[in-house]
């Protein structure tokens, strides 16, 4: 993630700092500070495979969500979301890829762990948390059911842009969402995200049958 700060981000940072300071009081009295936890992680974890130690430090968003147990104040959340929105890079041209490829990758929960082979392209892990095709019985419910998503939302350019952005960085829409920032974190390629947009919106996709 880009850590260079624009003036707008500096304003956000100031706001967030205030938020963190305000919330830090409660946990600090009963347990270790976030700094202490950070030190423990640096000491007690080690790099393995593609999971390097640069994954340990929290970014601001993670820190605020941890401090507030995922319930930041409304203005703080708004500022964070605006900051995250700026990380979304939309590709040129159509946002609709191939739903067939998307359907396959939606089933694939591998990638990014220390025992995945280097260079292994991660799947979308979609079914871990969402219902998609009504034919797949084994789906999680950490996220909402997306069955019939395109049928109810319509396959408009606005919806396509929303879906692409949501997969790219879910935190731009809900600061402490449990959904990974698949594009921002470099987990999925723009092509893969386009395939998922198709999976959700294409009328021919199994999601919309």
């Amino acid at each position: 993630m880009n850590r260079a700060m624009t003036p707008a981000m500096k304003r956000t940072a100031a706001l967030l700092l205030a938020a963190v300071a305000g919330c830090a009081l409660a946990p600090a009295s009963t347990g270790p500070s976030e700094g202490d936890v950070q030190n423990v992680l640096e000491r007690d974890f080690h790099a393995r495979g593609s999971a390097k130690m640069d994954r340990i430090p929290q970014d601001r968003l993670q820190r605020v969500c941890t401090e507030t147990r995922d319930r930041p104040a409304a203005d703080v959340a708004k500022a964070l979301e605006a900051e995250q929105m700026k990380t979304i890079v939309y590709p040129e041209g159509s946002l609709i890829g191939d739903w067939k490829r998307g359907d396959k990758s939606a089933q694939d929960g591998r990638g990014m762990t220390w025992n995945d082979k280097p260079g292994h392209q991660a799947g979308g892990s979609c079914y871990n948390c969402h219902q998609l095709s009504p034919k797949e019985m084994s789906y999680g419910n950490v996220g909402p059911s997306l069955t019939g998503f395109g049928k109810t939302r319509g396959n408009t350019p606005e919806t396509q842009r929303y879906v692409y952005g949501k997969i790219y960085n879910a935190k731009a829409y809900n600061a402490c969402s449990q959904m990974p920032r698949f594009g921002t974190s470099g987990t999925l390629t723009p092509e893969q995200i386009k395939d998922f947009v198709a999976l959700l919106l294409d009328p021919a996709s199994p999601v919309n049958q």
Binding site: G109, R110, G123, S125, M137, S138, G140
Partner: protein, 151 residues
């Protein structure tokens, strides 16, 4: 650990043990039915075993979950209440080799077996109890789901 040395010693002991045990074992055990176990469809497997014409029976009871969270271990408990049951056959239709087991019960044994089996996918599980030259069948569909956390 000096596991390699231990292993080799164990292997030697085992080989000696096998030489002693193998002979009486083979003599006692029914010959493993290569054709039936090698059959790729349930009807072929049953044909190899000389089973023709099965009748559904409520006296053959399969106690198994209808959903298995993992196909690597699916527990199945089988009881035949058909008097004079001599053999129980277990067949999983959609497995690459459907015949899973053939259990012959002699004087003194009850026609009962509980075993954990592998299922490649959702399938019918058939159990055939053989008694008095007749074949009594029970079937249960077991759904195999995909586990959590992507492996």
């Amino acid at each position: 650990m000096n596991s390699s040395r231990r292993t080799s010693r164990r292997t030697v002991v085992l080989a000696a043990l096998s030489a002693v045990l193998l002979k009486p074992f083979v003599a006692l055990a029914a010959v493993w039915n290569k054709d039936a176990f090698g059959a790729k469809t349930a009807p072929d497997a049953l044909k190899s075993l000389g089973v023709s014409g099965t009748a559904p029976s409520a006296d053959v009871v399969i106690d198994a979950p209808e959903i298995a969270e993992n196909g690597a271990v699916v527990p199945i408990e089988i009881t035949s209440k058909v008097p004079g049951t001599k053999t129980i056959l277990v067949v999983i239709d959609k497995n690459p080799f459907p015949l899973v087991g053939k259990f012959d019960f002699m004087e003194g044994a009850l026609p009962f077996v509980k075993v954990n089996v592998k299922m490649g996918e959702t399938s019918d599980v058939r159990v055939i109890a053989q008694a008095g030259g007749k074949n009594y069948q029970a079937t249960k569909n077991i759904k195999v789901t995909i586990g959590g956390c992507g492996g």
